[in-house]
């Protein structure tokens, strides 16, 4: 009898546990069912399963493209799906459907995931280009797992690596020239502001919310100079005054910047309605005292001073504690930045963290050429060859740029000294031009 009762309780408990699990399965946080560790590209949003998975339909290709398509199009994707759509590739596609992102980038498979989240063997280029030496005898003896890892080729983005580009920029050029970044001409969406500059006396905050230090900070800011009053942020669109306006407030005017921010590692969680990123969640080394910060516009840009110079170095280094970041202070780039900050150097001649990782980009908006800061810090980072054209070549030769970005030690020391290795690609391209 006792035994039957035990069996009954056991069964009931088991069924109840199963029912609880069903509730959990369709709940908000389902990470218990993750089949494996998520890649560093996606782990921040792994709780938002539906961002990528459609119920009972697997991964939606359009979910990948929703975040990555613009970048791939801008990169003139060397292996975009349209290259494989021709029926003559039907047999190859049956082996590996290269039109699908997940054919090469399976997620949650740490045991087979390599650099750039690729889940194929590293020599995957060999599948189609195994006979490359017939056409390019110079490639004899080169390992197929080095095509994309040695600084010569990239599967998607070859804008700075294609042969004629190497030839055009490969002729003897000075490794480094003095240059300046283009000046921002910030683009403000919405109605054009014609208010003149404002001073401390123009502060239109209610008395209870008028801290003198904040008003002084604002009065010296670009916002005040541009006629942006307290109420424009704290009581926008005739809303009642709020001491802490929502973070999306900034995007009302700085739409491009906010969009970039929510596409990169700093703000991607906001794009899928998760709570903001915090250094505590980071996989890169962070300063322990910064772990509890949360990332929104105000984390890097003090909301009253809106000092973009602080945001360009100090803000980054207050959280990031990896070797590359720690080495910045002693780097040649930092010296240029210090010279510009002290007024010795020309405007735009300094190289801050943001110069390379949140670079100023040309954008065509309604026919106008605008220089805006790309706030998606990942946009030109993975793979780092994407940095060559937009950033490195502003001051450096293509040859030095390629060599430096292929040299892990040089990156670790934040480009202190010259790269130790040399990538042969320019030499090979030049040789072939001279002796076709």
């Amino acid at each position: 009898m006792r035994r039957n009762r035990l069996a009954f309780v056991w069964t009931v408990a088991t069924v109840a546990a199963g029912l609880c699990l069903i509730a959990y399965f369709f709940g908000r946080d389902r990470r218990l069912f993750l089949p494996g560790e998520t890649t560093s590209g996606h782990y921040q949003i792994e709780r938002a399963c539906d961002a990528c998975h459609a119920p009972f339909q697997g991964i939606r290709q359009d979910a990948c493209l929703a975040c990555h398509q613009a970048d791939l199009q801008a990169a003139e994707d060397s292996h975009g799906p349209e290259k494989f759509n021709d029926p003559r590739y039907a047999e190859d596609l049956a082996r590996l459907d290269a039109r699908q992102c997940i054919a090469c980038h399976a997620e949650h498979r740490p045991e087979i995931t390599g650099a750039m989240g690729v889940t194929l063997p590293e020599d995957f280029c060999r599948s189609c280009h195994g006979d490359v030496t017939e056409e390019r005898p110079t490639h004899e003896g080169m390992a197929f797992d080095s095509c994309g890892s040695a600084g010569c080729h990239n599967y998607h983005d070859n804008r700075a690596l294609y042969e004629d580009f190497l030839v055009r920029h490969g002729e003897a050029q000075p490794a480094t020239v003095a240059a300046a970044w283009p000046q921002r001409n910030a683009w403000i969406s919405g109605e054009t502001r014609d208010a003149g500059p404002l001073g401390a006396g123009d502060a239109d905050s209610p008395p209870a919310s008028s801290r003198p230090d904040l008003i002084a900070a604002w009065a010296n800011s670009a916002h005040a100079a541009g006629g942006v009053a307290c109420s424009d942020c704290h009581a926008a669109a005739d809303a009642p005054w709020s001491d802490r306006p929502p973070r999306a407030m900034c995007s009302a005017c700085h739409e491009l910047e906010y969009q970039g921010f929510t596409e990169g590692k700093h703000g991607m969680r906001l794009a899928v309605d998760l709570d903001p990123m915090s250094p505590a969640m980071a996989r890169l080394p962070m300063h322990p005292e910064a772990l509890n910060e949360t990332l929104d516009c105000g984390t890097c840009h003090d909301v009253h001073t809106v000092n973009v110079r602080e945001a360009a170095v100090d803000a980054c280094l207050s959280c990031h504690a990896d070797e590359h970041s720690a080495a910045y202070a002693d780097s040649p780039h930092a010296r240029l930045w210090e010279r510009e900050m002290s007024g010795e150097g020309d405007k735009g001649s300094g190289v801050s963290c943001a110069s390379c990782h949140l670079p100023r980009e040309e954008r065509r908006i309604a026919g106008d050429l605008r220089i805006a800061v790309q706030h998606n810090q990942n946009e030109n980072l993975r793979p780092n060859e994407k940095m060559i054209r937009e950033v490195c070549m502003t001051c450096h030769s293509l040859a030095l740029s390629i060599d430096a970005l292929a040299d892990k030690e040089n990156i670790r020391t934040n480009f202190f000294g010259m790269p130790s290795g040399h990538v042969q690609s320019i030499d090979m391209a030049l040789t072939r031009t001279e002796h076709p």
């Binding site: 697997g58 799906p81 029926p87 003559r88 949650h108 056409e135 072939r432």
Partner: protein, 200 residues
Amino acid sequence: MIRLRSTPCLRLIAAGIFAIGLACCGGPSTSDQPEAGNISPQIMADALHAVLESDRTVYARQVVHRLQDQEEVILASEHWQDEKALPLPAQMFRMGAEMVANKTDAFSYALISKWPVNKQNEPGTEAEIAGLDSVANNPSAAFYARESLGDAEYFTAVYADIAVSPACIACHNAHKDSPRDDFELGDAMGGVVIRILLTE
């Protein structure tokens, strides 16, 4: 990650259920006889080719050749984005082909040659090889075949691709990746392949 939908087993089950459903409904109502107005794959391919060839010839002569060589306004270049130049006629043709392939599986077209600048555009299938030989010998007659690629049947037509503008031969003869440097105006430089999907 796992798409059960696409497993052959489920497709088979789905096909079975569909077949039973069809049987219950008395089968498809369309007859196998071509109705008046239906066009054959060959007429379809010929028509497509006429449009493609004409559009590209207009582009090669009236845009590229005129602006680059006669009026010297703008260059045409393989790296047209970087060099702020005109796309080459062959690139314009390819971009169209890629856009079509993104829109429909019903037909596709491509440029192939025995002497391609890009090795990926060598003839690959038997029909492509036979087609290129055929149009090289007799450029005025198209080559037609049926092909089975993957698990689909195609009506495949190959047409001679004639050098219609000096821009074509100048670029191909000078390109360092081109296996031939002696093309002349009017030569068959390769072929246009048009495939019409016959199976669903």
